[in-house]
Every structure is written in C-alpha cells, then in structure tokens.
C-alpha cells in the first residue's frame, strides 16, 4: 500500500510500549507526510519522548509496526545508526553539538570528508559548511564564521546549526525534541525560522514541545498525546491557537475531573 503515490515519511501502526508493567504507549497510530510539520504536544509524562525514542531507534516497541518512507522497518534491527541511514535525524536541546569545537567540525563529525588514510579535507569541509550556513539555514550571525566555536553561538543559533546539518545530510524526517526549552523569545523566533526552512526544503518534521504558541506557528497538524494515547489529531486549518489552547486545557481538566470522581 505504501509504495504507490507519495508514501508517508513515517508511519506508526498499533505501537504499544510497556516498561515493565507501566503501559507507556498504547495503540499509537499516526503518520507524518512527506513534507509535513507535525507538532507533537502533550503534558509532561504523556509519552512524547518515549514515542520519539521508538521512532529514532533508541527504544524498541513492545509490539506494532513502523514504516519509514513506506518501507516496513525490521524493529529487531532498528537502532540509532539504522535510523540515520533511513534519513531520520534528531536534534536535541543540548546534546547535538560539541561546544568547544569549531562549526565546520561540528557539521562533519562522524561523517568527515577524508582521503583514504582518514585525513580530513579541511578546505572542502569548510567550504561546504559555509554553504550550509548561508544557503540552507540562512545564517547571518554577527561575526560568526565556520571557524567560530559553538560556545560563541546563542541557543537559537546552535539549534540552527544542528538543523542545517541534518538537512545537509539529506534527512527526510527531522525530529526536534523540545528545541526551544530555555531560550529567550528572540532565540525561539530564530529556531522557528529554521523549522520553516525544513518545510521549504520539502522535508518532514516532528516538532515536540509544550510551548503551544511555538508549535502552532510552524506545524501543519497537531497530534495531542495524553497518558500514552493519541487523543486528537487536528489540522491547523480547522483550529485557531485559542481553540487549540482551550481544547488542551479542557482536556486536561476533563481528565483531572474524571480521576477525582
């Protein structure tokens, strides 16, 4: 079914996950389109990060099926490396870049351009890094060059570098795990601009955040996760930020009431 007519970038079918007796995810069915930005929202402990870890190969689901670009994934052999080879890249809040290293090294670490003896072609790496900074992510920081160390960048710029790197390496699906936590408003804005670049480049993205405002600005569709279940999938066109906010609040309250009764 998946092969014909623009398969989804990612599809999860009946995914279940138990940690011991804890039912972390139940009956997860979702898909991400080829060029879709999906906002994954939910409260702390809703299962967002468990879901991400399953699709990036860190955790193995207890049962269910995973399709990447229409191909069924052999979950027994699925790990971070194979996820990379399938074109799934994850950008974390703080675990993506070596702070004391230069930008050009950060772009290529682990996938260096080398000669046969493993010596790095510095000139070529720098040239490509410069191109990524200018063209792919539109980086125009003051006085920042490929020779700058990451420690000189602001939080938003760091996320930009990580996103640009993922795009350069032909990621089909970029997972952003809480990319704006602990950033100032101006920096958040920068990150959102980078997410727009993902859309423009025709790639897919899962944007995880509980800052609803940020998600609303960039996402095409929202998936709401609560206590390990998908409780809603809402197209952006069918809702406003206010409605979505009210929905989430009501939902949280509704459940709270249920629990108390």
């Amino acid at each position: 079914m998946a092969e014909e007519s623009a398969p989804c970038a990612l599809q999860m079918v009946n995914i279940e996950k138990y940690f011991g007796l804890v039912h972390a995810l139940s009956n997860i069915n979702m898909e991400v389109g080829r060029n879709e930005i999906v906002g994954l929202i939910g409260d702390n402990g809703a299962g967002k990060s468990t879901m991400v870890k399953i699709l990036t190969g860190v955790h193995r689901p207890t049962s269910g099926e995973l399709y990447v670009a229409g191909r069924k994934v052999d979950l027994d052999r699925y790990n971070v490396k194979t996820a990379h080879s399938y074109g799934i890249e994850t950008v974390y809040q703080d675990k993506s870049l070596g702070e004391k290293q230069t930008l050009w090294r950060n772009f290529f670490v682990g996938r260096q351009i080398t000669n046969r003896l493993g010596f790095i072609k510095v000139g070529e790496e720098k040239r490509i890094a410069r191109e990524i900074m200018l063209n792919t992510i539109g980086f125009r920081g003051r006085g920042i060059t490929v020779d700058s160390t990451v420690s000189k960048l602001s939080g938003g710029e760091r996320q930009g570098v990580a996103i640009g790197r993922a795009m350069h390496f032909e990621a089909e699906l970029i997972v952003l795990d809480e990319p704006t936590v602990a950033l100032s408003l101006k920096e958040v804005h920068k990150v959102l601009n980078f997410v727009h670049k993902i859309k423009e480049a025709g790639k897919a993205c899962i944007y995880i955040s509980h800052a609803l405002h940020d998600v609303y600005e960039v996402a095409d569709r929202f998936i709401v996760l609560d206590r390990g279940e998908i409780v809603a999938s809402i197209e952006k066109g069918n809702t406003t930020l206010k409605e979505l906010d009210t929905f989430l609040l009501e939902y949280a309250h509704g459940l709270k009431d249920k629990r108390e009764s």
Partner: protein, 368 residues
C-alpha cells in the same frame, strides 16, 4: 584599547604562542642572569637530551587529556618497556646481529607498551572504570611487574653504544653546531625524534578523524556518540597509542643512559602533566595543544638547570618552577580566550564561581 584587544585576539589564535613567549622570556632571563652558561651551546644540547623523554610522554598525554581522560601509568610503562628492551637485547644480542637484536627489542618494547595501554583502554572504555583509578592501578601493577622481572636490579647495556639503533635513536649529530673542541658537542638525535613525533601527533589531532573524535569525546561524549563517533573504540585506541608512545620514551631513556633502572620514569608523572597543562591543553577535555606541550616541556625541563646556573641557591628551584607554571597558565587563560575583557570581568566578580559568572554573560547579551 580596541587595537590592543584585536591584537590579543589575533595572538590568541596562534597555537601555543603564550607558552612559547614564556619560554623565550625565560631563556632571555637566564642569558642575563647566567651568561656564562646560557651563551654557550652546551646547555642547550643538554636540554635537547634531557627533555626528549618527558616531551615524548607529554605529547602522548596531550591527546589523552584532550579526550577528557588521564593516564597515570606512563611512568611504569617507561620502566616496563625499558626492561623489555634490555632483556631482549641481552638475550638475543649474543646469538645474532646486535642491530637486529636491538630492533627486536625496540619492537617488543613498543608492543609491551601498547599492551599496557590496551588493558587501560579496556578497563576505561569497556568496563567503565574511571581512568584515574584504572591507570593508577596500572601504574602500581606494571611497576611491580618490572621490579619483579628485573629482580630489583639495574642492568647495563654494555655494547649498545656501537649499536646502530643506539646511534639512530640517541646518537649525536656533529658538525652543525660550532664546536671548538671537535666531537664534543652534537645535537642529540632523540630531540629530532621528539620533534618528529610532535609533528605527526599535531597532524593526527588536528587533521585526522581520529583526532577529531578525540576532541569531541573530550568535549561531550554523548554528542560524540549521537554523531556517530565510536567512543569506546576510540578510547581504547587512544590508550594503546599512549602506551606505545610511553614505551618509546622508555627505550630512548634506556638507550641514552645505556643502563636500565627499574625506577626509570618514576618522578616524571607530575612534570609531564605540568608541561601539558601549561601548554594550554584543557583539563576539562575537548581542547589540546601539541605546540603548547612542546614548549611547556622545554620550560619545565630548562627551569631546574637554569635556576641552578644563575648561581642562586638550589633551594629556589621549586619556588621558581611553581611561579613560572602559575604565570604560564594565567597567560594561557587570558590569551586563549582572545579577550582581555574576560579577565577583568573575572577579577570584578572575584569569588563568584566561574560557571555562574560565565552563564550570566549571554543572558545580559540577549536582554539588549
């Protein structure tokens, strides 16, 4: 002020410059205070000879510290490798070509050092023992093994002086340095080997993907892992390399002395570490300077002889050493940041933990 700042920034970009400047100042100071000694070639040739083994060790240790690890076992490796070399030479030397015997000895010593380092690497990377504990245990263990094997005795290498391996590794090159008493002052070849090793390790650290992996592991092992660096394998390779390098230093030391001492290398731990740190290699890992270690080793190596030669009491040696080390590290910190403002900020916020102070800077930046 602005020009001074940009000049400092520019100077900070040249690797190892601060410590090179300290070295030059030191030599000038020695020339002024002890011209009789320091205006002659002999003292410098003596430095080239004595600094070579600790320099070789420091170069290897620079990579280890850049990876955020530490190796305390290299003094024992120096002794162990010296023993293996001496034993091989004395055992095989009688029955075969002495050059071949010395080469076999060299090969076995390097393998022995690599083995010591490999075990260190396994303990650290596979089992997860902190490097400081694993290599401390290794230091005791391999030193103990050496003393046991040697029966606590030193062993002379009688015929080694005529050996080709001896003249290639620790011979003298005559005729380059002006030398009135012919054949007395030559350049020690071990200094050239150390220089060559420095060049090779600089290239590996700065231009090879192994070196890049080392830097990222020292910076943040989680990032390195996520980016596809094989952290465990790289660490094992790194400790093995350190073992081989320490063994090489051990063989050089034994050849130069023409005697193997079971205690050789003991006492080198702190000077070698000091040389690496004053060279600007970060104790926190992630940043390492081969050029810095090179000059750092020469600073440490020339201090004692220099202070004694100035004619002041030998009791001053340690005090001067401490002062020079402290001064170098401070200079490195200022110039390495490329911004003198950082220092004045620090001085102003004296007493506030550095981490908190440096976190404050970007947030005030965003507020504008």
């Amino acid at each position: 002020m602005k020009r001074a700042r940009s000049l400092i920034r520019l100077l900070g970009k040249i690797e190892g410059l601060p410590v090179a400047v300290v070295f030059v100042i030191l030599i000038i100071a020695f020339i002024i205070t002890a011209p009789d000694v320091f205006l002659k070639w002999r003292i410098y040739m003596s430095f080239l000879q004595t600094v070579a083994p600790p320099l070789i060790l420091g170069l290897g240790l620079t990579l280890v510290i850049t990876a955020g690890e530490i190796d305390l076992s290299f003094p024992a490796t120096v002794a162990f490798a010296g023993y293996v070399f001496t034993w091989s030479f004395r055992t095989f030397g009688d029955n075969m070509d002495p050059t071949l015997a010395a080469l076999i000895g060299l090969g076995l010593a390097l393998i022995a050092g690599g083995f010591v380092g490999y075990i260190n690497g396994l303990l650290v990377a596979r089992i997860g023992v902190p490097a400081i504990m694993a290599t401390l245990a290794a230091q005791f263990f391999w030193y103990g093994v050496t003393v046991l094997l040697a029966g606590g005795l030193q062993a002379a290498l009688k015929t080694i002086e005529d050996n080709r391996v001896h003249s290639v590794l620790t011979g003298r090159i005559y005729g380059i340095i002006p030398d009135p008493a012919r054949g007395r002052i030559g350049i020690p070849t071990q200094a050239l080997w150390a220089l060559g090793l420095a060049v090779v390790l600089w290239i590996i650290l700065n231009r090879h993907k192994f070196g890049e992996a080392v830097m990222f592991i020292g910076d943040n092992p989680n990032v390195a892992r996520v980016m596809g660096v094989n952290v465990e394998t790289t660490k094992i390779q790194l400790f093995t390399l350190m073992g081989v390098i320490a063994a090489f230093a051990g063989v050089i030391l034994t050849l130069e002395m023409r005697v193997f001492y079971p205690t050789q290398g003991q006492g080198m731990l702190l000077p070698v570490m000091a040389a690496v740190f004053i060279g600007g290699t970060s104790m926190a890992g992630g940043v390492g300077s081969i050029v810095g270690t090179f000059f750092g080793s020469y600073i440490i190596g020339s201090l004692e002889a220099g202070v004694v030669a100035t004619g002041i009491s030998g009791f001053w040696v340690q005090l001067v050493q401490g002062a020079v080390m402290g001064g170098s590290v401070v200079l490195n910190t200022i110039l390495g940041r490329g911004d003198i403002a950082v220092l004045s900020d620090r001085v102003r916020q004296w007493g506030i933990p550095m981490r908190a102070a440096s976190r404050e800077a970007p947030s005030s930046d965003l507020g504008t």
